[in-house]
Amino acid sequence: MSDANLDIENLRELYRELILDHARNPRNFERMADATHSAEGINPLCGDKLKLYFRINAANIIDDAKFEGSGCAISTASASMLTEFVHGMDMNTALQYFELLQQRLTAPDSPVEHAPLDLGKLRAFEGVREYPSRIKCATLAWHALRSAVQCDDHPASTE
């Protein structure tokens, strides 16, 4: 394989097809007028700025999730996949997935806390591990989810 091809192959570990697909065609990419919860996520390093909207019902189930804003491929794909992933999910479970994702990206060898949970499609982000400066991008939307449900008015920042 030529060097260039090798580079592309390695980079595909980070930029997997699923991520590129969500980055190019973000799902649920619109404002939500009747959101019960919303929060901004800002990554000052690269200027990513996302706003996430959630409609959470009385039983604490996330009925709907949407987002808007601009960001790099990783943060956009992460937000897009988040909105699909948490749809119909109990809010506390969603927060546990955030912790699990965070752990898988930053300390993959530590014992798994939320053992019964399975990251599923979110595993696509595991390639980010090799790029410490990009972990913030992969978790930005999740930080925003957490501040939205905790009714924290301050924009979530990965700093």
């Binding site: 260039a4 592309i8 960001g71």
Partner: protein, 405 residues
């Protein structure tokens, strides 16, 4: 001798990143240091270190000589009239804050104006906002055009007797635009305003003569001109500096202290409270020697050719848009590529050993003007060559291939 021969002087350039030879195109953020700078700092630490201006012993004498020797080198480098007009700071940012707090704040009143431009680095915006908040003065911003050039007519329109200070970058860090600073200062002199020039991006790339410019203050950083971090310079006209109160209090800036009265030291020590960054100043002096030996004009000529090559080559990439196309530019080319966020581009290039800066470059108003969240920016120094540009282009082509649908 071709400029590329200077590459060998910079040890950091000779390493592999991710299995590729390093291509360093981020000198506008911070330049690499040549061995002569690294060695000068080490040699000083190894043999000559003691505190300055404080001891009768031999080492203190040597340290003082080295420190004041560096000041004299800097004076000559920017052709200041006196070495007492050279104040060592931590960098451009601290130099500008010194002027904001010590020169401007005491004289600024509600209704006064501070004039800056849309091109400024945050370091030449926020210190003025701070004094505006404290005094009720107004920050006025001169506009730019689509090429990233200052609109001179508009700038001149904004000059009047309410303006206490014009604070203007010599060269834009985000776009590389060179402002016609000499003409601008001449125009500003028709009014009673002081003039500060942010020269952080100018001194590594062109010769600067503060007397010919006739500015009141000129600020720059050591680390962008091949010197150590934590070093910088505020040049100020003697009469201006003399009239200003000290900014920080402490050792070295006093002649006599009692609990009722303190007599401040003479210039430049009045503005250098506490033990200074002595080894840093020594390194900065070595960087000045290095640049001077090559010749600022030679550097400018070489870099201009390389910058043209860089911009031309970038323009051959489909979907790439150059941001900042001023007629007169130095060292920097910003750009964006359709469908690839700058941050992703930065990661993909780093993977191939190519270091560029991505993001807002501490110039968010410039990004807002061009309606982009950030740009990718390749910046050149005298150690770059066409091979670096070619590798950058090849690496960008990989990014576009990876992101192609």
């Amino acid at each position: 001798m071709s400029m590329t021969d200077y590459r060998k002087d910079f040890p950091a350039l000779h390493q592999e990143i991710q299995g590729h030879p390093l291509v360093y195109l981020d000198s506008a953020a911070s330049a690499q240091a040549p061995s002569v700078v690294i060695d000068a700092v080490a040699e000083y630490q190894r043999c000559d270190h003691a505190n300055v201006h404080r001891g009768v012993h031999t080492l203190s004498h040597r340290a003082t000589e080295a420190f004041e020797g560096a000041r004299e080198k800097v004076r000559s480098f920017i052709n200041a009239a006196k070495s007492s007009e050279i104040i060592f700071t931590r960098g451009t940012t601290e130099a500008i804050n010194l002027v904001a707090q010590s020169y401007l704040r005491p004289i600024l009143k509600s209704g006064d104006q501070i004039l800056i431009t849309h091109l400024e680095h945050h370091s030449n915006i926020v210190p003025w906002q701070l004094v505006c908040e404290l005094t009720g003065a107004e920050l006025v911003v001169a506009p730019i055009n689509d090429q990233g050039e200052l609109k001179l007519d508009a700038l001149y329109e904004l000059m009047n007797d309410k303006v206490r200070l014009l604070a203007i970058g010599h060269v834009s860090n985000a776009l590389g635009s060179i402002n016609p600073i000499q003409d601008i200062i001449a125009e500003a002199r028709k009014f009673n305003m002081a003039i500060l020039v942010d020269g952080a991006q100018a001194v590594p790339h062109m010769s600067v003569d503060v007397q010919a410019l006739d500015c009141d203050f000129y600020a720059f950083s050591g680390h962008k001109m091949f010197g150590p971090t934590g070093t910088g310079v505020l040049y100020g006209k003697h009469a201006r500096l003399e009239a200003m109160p000290p900014w920080q209090g402490g050792g070295d800036m006093i002649l006599e202290v009692s609990f009722t009265r303190t007599v401040y030291n003479d210039l430049p020590y009045k503005f250098e409270a506490g033990t200074p960054n002595i080894s840093g100043a020594v390194g900065l002096g070595a960087a000045v020697d290095y640049i001077t030996a090559i010749g600022a004009e030679n550097i400018a000529r070489y870099e201009n050719q390389l910058l043209s090559y860089l911009s031309e080559q970038l323009a051959t990439i489909d979907g790439l848009q150059l941001i900042g196309t001023a007629a007169n530019k130095a060292s920097v080319q910003s750009f964006v590529i359709d469908g690839i966020h700058p941050h992703d581009l930065g990661t993909i290039l780093d993977h191939q050993g190519v270091a560029i800066r991505t993001g807002h470059h501490c110039a968010m108003p410039v990004m807002d003007f061009f309606a982009v969240p950030g740009t990718a920016r390749a910046s050149l120094a005298l150690y770059n060559n066409r091979d670096d540009v070619d590798k950058l282009i090849a690496a960008i082509r990989i990014a576009t291939e990876l992101f192609a649908e």
